[in-house]
Symmetry: C2
Subunit: 426 residues, 2 copies
């Protein structure tokens, strides 16, 4: 149940009835334990404003559904002088899965309800040179492997979210366009459901930068708390994408096509982009631009069949060794990163600009020119308070975000998980 606020005149109207109130309160208790950690029933009642009998009944139901469990006894005595039993998230019962298709790899991860990683896999694959169907066969195998691992530890899969580097329409489960994969329109959710044997869990698709932004946002909230509500994440390697969280909400745009920052026309004299246009931002800040500047055509670091992390490790080695050509190329990419970065910060005023994907790996050389452009080119004093940070999630950000979205559905509506905790109620 989401009610409108002052910023949303004319928004939807939702009144509370008893069923939705119960579901809402289950969600409130479950999310409270997630965000604040193990708690006694009395403390949950005090924090949420619900009365103690209601909280006891809600906790009992969440335990039945396998989402909460009784943990250790409270270490400090409460106001009543009796140590209470703490309830905590039950990590084991329910997992979310994220699965990513990218230009040169596939990846999968499963996270349990407490956010712990159950399984994580990444395999290099030259996706742009395979038929989409073949790639999806490989991806389905990876997903099935993750689901099996979840089942093997006695858990159930709440949902699978696919991350794709392109224009995605989540409502219809379709990929509209992924220029760097060379893919056109594809009913990707249907294709995957079929390959997975029509599973009971939900399958969704989202843009990889959106999912990476959600994962980064989640990490930042753990570190910085609720004073971070607005972030922009830049990710990619060959292609460059942006994911944005504003006022705590993921920005998707009217049709779900927001965040196409790689195609901002910032370099009129730039090269031809994968999208067919000239001067897109990714032609001056993408991995190809860096490699073209830093290396000769026959340099093995350009080989797309090598794992991208190995190739970036080699660039890093050269930069650390003071290779003049590499450093010049990084400085040039950093300057262009600053020009586009300042545009994003002027428009969105994020608390944090997160460097993800390949930008995170080369952050030590890119960050300074980016920060300098933000100081110089952003009109708000002190860059509007924007910090630049390197993501520590590496290339796992999108799959982690995908797994989180699958789990979020359970946090929003705990009744999705059956009371016997053996099957997903659809």
């Amino acid at each position: 149940m989401t009610l409108t606020d002052g910023s949303r005149p004319g928004g939807g109207v939702v009144a509370a009835d008893h069923v939705s109130l119960r579901r809402n309160n289950l969600s409130v208790v479950l999310r409270h334990v997630r965000s604040d950690g193990p708690k006694s029933r009395a403390r949950i009642a005090a924090d949420t404003g619900l009365n103690k009998a209601t909280v006891s009944s809600l906790v009992a139901e969440l335990v039945e559904r396998g989402l909460l469990r009784d943990g250790r006894a409270e270490s400090e005595r409460g106001a009543l002088g009796r140590p209470g039993q703490l309830v905590e998230l039950d990590g084991s019962a329910v997992c979310g899965v994220g699965a990513e298709i990218n230009v040169d790899y596939l990846a999968v991860t499963a996270l349990d309800l407490s956010g712990d990683t159950v399984i994580e896999r990444r395999v290099p694959l030259d996706v742009a040179h395979l038929a989409p169907g073949t790639t999806l066969d490989h991806l389905a195998e990876l997903v099935q492997h993750a689901v099996t691992a979840v089942t093997a530890r006695g858990g159930q899969t709440a949902g699978v979210t696919l991350a794709a580097p392109g224009l995605v329409q989540g409502t219809t489960g379709s990929l509209k366009l992924a220029p760097n994969l060379g893919w056109g329109e594809l009913q990707i959710v249907d294709e995957m459901r079929e390959r997975l044997g029509g599973p009971a869990y939900a399958v969704r698709v989202d843009n990889e930068a959106n999912l990476a932004a959600l994962a980064a946002y989640s990490e930042l909230r753990k570190e910085s708390g609720s004073n971070v509500e607005d972030i922009v994440l830049l990710t990619g390697a060959i292609g460059v994408g942006g994911g944005m969280v504003a006022g705590g909400h993921l920005l998707r745009g009217g049709r779900g096509f927001s965040g196409e920052v790689g195609h901002m026309p910032v370099a009129p004299a730039g090269g031809i982009c994968g999208c067919g246009r000239t001067g897109c931002w990714e032609t001056v800040v993408g991995l190809t631009a860096l490699l073209n500047k830093a290396t000769d055509a026959d340099d093995p670091v350009r080989d797309p069949s090598l794992d991208v992390e190995q190739r970036l490790a080699e660039i890093t080695r050269r930069a650390e060794a003071g290779g003049a050509r590499t450093l010049r190329a990084l400085a040039d990419v950093g300057t262009w990163l600053g020009i586009g970065g300042a545009i994003l910060v002027n428009i969105l005023n994020p608390d944090v600009l997160v460097l993800g994907g390949y930008f995170a790996v080369l952050g030590p050389w890119l960050k300074e020119p980016l920060e300098s452009a933000i100081r110089d080119r952003v009109i708000a004093p002190d860059g509007g308070g924007c910090r630049v940070v390197q993501s520590e999630l590496g290339f796992t950000a999108a799959v982690r975000g995908g797994a989180q979205i699958s789990l979020d559905q359970v946090f929003l509506d705990p009744t999705l998980i059956g009371r016997d905790a053996t099957g997903v109620a659809q």
Copy 2:
């Protein structure tokens, strides 16, 4: 009460207690009547899922507070065969006021609860050449005039929202920087409250483009219904600002400094901006850029002491008469408008890009190059579905948005208005 949704992991947790539930349900009923028009109690119950006895009690309280009133009888017989009495918004009791400071004018408007205009005033003023205190004296007079007009018709003022063309921090009621006014930091809310004699109603400040975007969003929702949730509004004359609504929420950024689109560095070879930097978007799309291209230095249309609408009417006259220099200048500004517009559409994927301020007046000449750039430079098919429309609110958009924000507080919490409807409960 705003609950988090799936896009907001780790967001706030709010549980319903009886007082907040009652307040929430009062708000639900009041907003439902606003968005759907006059309704019988039975219909409100059916639409909201609340039971009829509860709805009757809620409506009675809203009538007591002067927010709803009984209207005509239902024209069609309901399911029970009895025509019901319709309840409707009581426009007369409560008004919101918006007041704007801009480079060359001040404006004020008061809207009643049904959105009807009670009073509207705009006065040319060369603000950039006056001391801030003198301008605020003039603005306070205008606001007092509006409040008096509201009182004279038996209403009360729920709040006053100031619109300023610059960086605004709503939480502290301060203006940080308004380059085109030549104003630095100013405790503008305190200054105005003092000039207004410490009024009982709330005084707020917001960015003028944000408020104009809210007003435009509200108009679009009236026309297009709920399929519009994402808009970008461009406004301004000398300075250029952007206001953005995404997923139904106004974007403010981490510190409230979002929407500084006028300072996107898109024209490296451009002129010096009011902010001191080179190549900002407003140096190639603002009114000054147009006038420099279209007119000689001694052309009377450049005179800032004339009303901006008169000056734009003269430009329009010349364009309609086929003046080659005017048309060339408009085409040039339109092309630059498209370059920045495509950046905004790639990033935000709005349903609608609204031309406000001076862009709305000259829209007939600017729209085509802008639409063409969106088709050509936006990677999502069909420009991501983005329509370009000219605002019909003219230079009243920001004050209307300000009045609406003041009223929105009442829609969100009807208990702000006292039960005797004679005083604002603070």
